[in-house]
Amino acid sequence: MNIRLYMAQRLSAIIMIPLVFGHLGVMIYAIQGGLSAGEILSRTQGSVFWFMFYGLFVIAVSVHGAIGLRTIMSELLRWNDIALDAIMWGFGLLSIFMGARAVSAVTWL
C-alpha cells in the first residue's frame, strides 16, 4: 500500500457512502411498493440518472474491492508486487466488466 493506492481506496469509499444508502433505499422502495421486474425496468431503462448512479457505484466498488484484495493477499499470503498488481488489475477490471454488463442491461433501452 502506498499513498496513491491509499487515496484511491479512501476516495472510492467516500463515493460509496451515499450510493450504498441510495441503493438500500431503492431496494426497500421497490419491495415495499411491490414493483414487478417489468415495472422496475420501465423506470430504469433509458434513464441517464440510474445509468450514472449504478455506473459510478460499479466503478467505486471495483476500485475499492481490488485494492482491498491486494492488501489482503499481500498480508495474508505475502505475494510479490507483480502478483499483487496482477490480481488487483484482474479483479478490478473483471468487476467493472461484470458491473457494466449489469448496469447496461437495466438502464439501456
Binding site: M1, N2, I3, L5, Y6, M7, R10, S74, R78, D81
Partner: protein, 242 residues
C-alpha cells in the same frame, strides 16, 4: 496482592535464529519482584549462560523489552504480581524481530526502519544562525512534544500485527518519530519526511487497530501520530495536484 506461593514456574525461551524451545525453571517468589529480577535471578543462580539485555532498570533506556506471557513489556518496570498467570511466567524474545540468542532480539530491523522513516536530524540552521525561538505553548510544538518520550524499546513494534504480516512496514515507533520531526520547526525539509513515509512500507499500511498505543509502556500514542501522517501526506499530495 499478597504472595501465597514460595516459588513460581518460569519458562524461558532458549535458542537462536535457527530455532529454540522453552526451558523451565523454578524461581523463588518475592513480594516486590519485576520480570527482569526473575530473569537476572535465573542467570545468576541457575544458568550463567542465559543471554538477555538490560541497562538502566528504571524504564529509561528501552533495552529490556521481552514477551511476557505473550505480551510485549518493559521487563524492568513490569511487576511479577501483575502478569503472573497460574503461578507461571513465560518469557521470550520480542516478537517481530529475529532472535540472536535466548531473550536477546536483533534490533537492527527496528533501527534501520527508524532511519528509513527519516528519523535523523536534518537541521534548518547552522550553529552560526540564531536559535529559533519556539514558545512552549506553540500548538505545533505541543504535537511534537507528545511523542518525544519514546525510549526505542520496540514494544509497539512487537505488538503490531501489520509489522508481523508486512516486512516492509516501517512500524509504529519509526512513523511516530517521523511525525515528531514533521512538527519540529527546527527540521529543514518536512517534505522529505512525508516522502519517506509515503512509500511501499509507509504510514498508509497502518490498520489503526491501536495495539501500539495499547502496549506502549510510556503511554504514547503512535496510532494517533500515524493518523496525523496520513492526513499530512494526503494534504501534501492534493496541494501538489497529482
Amino acid at each position: 496482592m499478597a504472595n501465597t506461593n514460595d516459588t513460581m514456574t518460569v519458562k524461558v525461551w532458549r535458542g537462536d535464529k535457527n530455532g529454540g524451545a522453552y526451558q523451565q525453571f523454578v524461581v523463588p517468589r518475592q513480594d516486590n519482584q519485576t520480570v527482569l529480577d526473575v530473569v537476572s535471578w535465573i542467570q545468576q543462580n541457575q544458568d550463567p549462560n542465559l543471554s538477555y539485555r538490560f541497562a538502566c532498570r528504571v524504564g529509561m533506556c528501552g533495552s529490556c523489552a521481552m514477551m511476557v506471557n505473550g505480551t510485549p513489556r518493559w521487563t524492568c518496570r513490569t511487576h511479577v504480581n501483575k502478569v503472573l498467570d497460574a503461578n507461571t511466567l513465560v518469557v521470550a524474545p520480542l516478537r517481530n524481530l529475529p532472535p540472536i540468542k535466548d531473550l536477546v532480539a536483533d534490533m537492527d530491523p527496528f533501527f534501520d526502519k527508524w532511519i528509513d522513516a527519516g528519523g535523523h536530524h536534518d537541521p534548518s540552521a547552522s550553529r552560526y544562525d540564531a536559535m529559533p525561538q519556539i514558545a512552549p505553548d506553540d500548538a505545533q510544538r505541543a504535537v511534537a512534544n507528545e511523542s518525544i518520550e519514546c525510549i526505542n524499546c520496540a514494544v509497539c513494534y512487537a505488538a503490531c500485527d501489520t509489522v508481523a504480516h508486512n516486512e516492509n512496514y516501517l512500524g509504529p515507533a519509526a512513523l511516530q518519530r517521523a511525525w515528531t520531526l514533521y512538527n519540529d520547526e527546527k527540521v529543514n525539509d518536512t517534505d522529505a519526511v512525508l516522502a519517506a513515509v509515503s512509500g511501499k512500507g509507509g504510514c498508509h499500511n497502518c490498520h489503526s487497530q491501536g495495539s501500539c498505543s495499547l502496549y506502549c509502556p510510556n503511554e504514547l500514542n503512535p496510532m494517533r501520530a500515524i493518523a496525523g501522517l496520513k492526513a499530512a501526506t494526503i494534504k501534501h499530495q492534493l496541494k501538489r495536484g497529482r
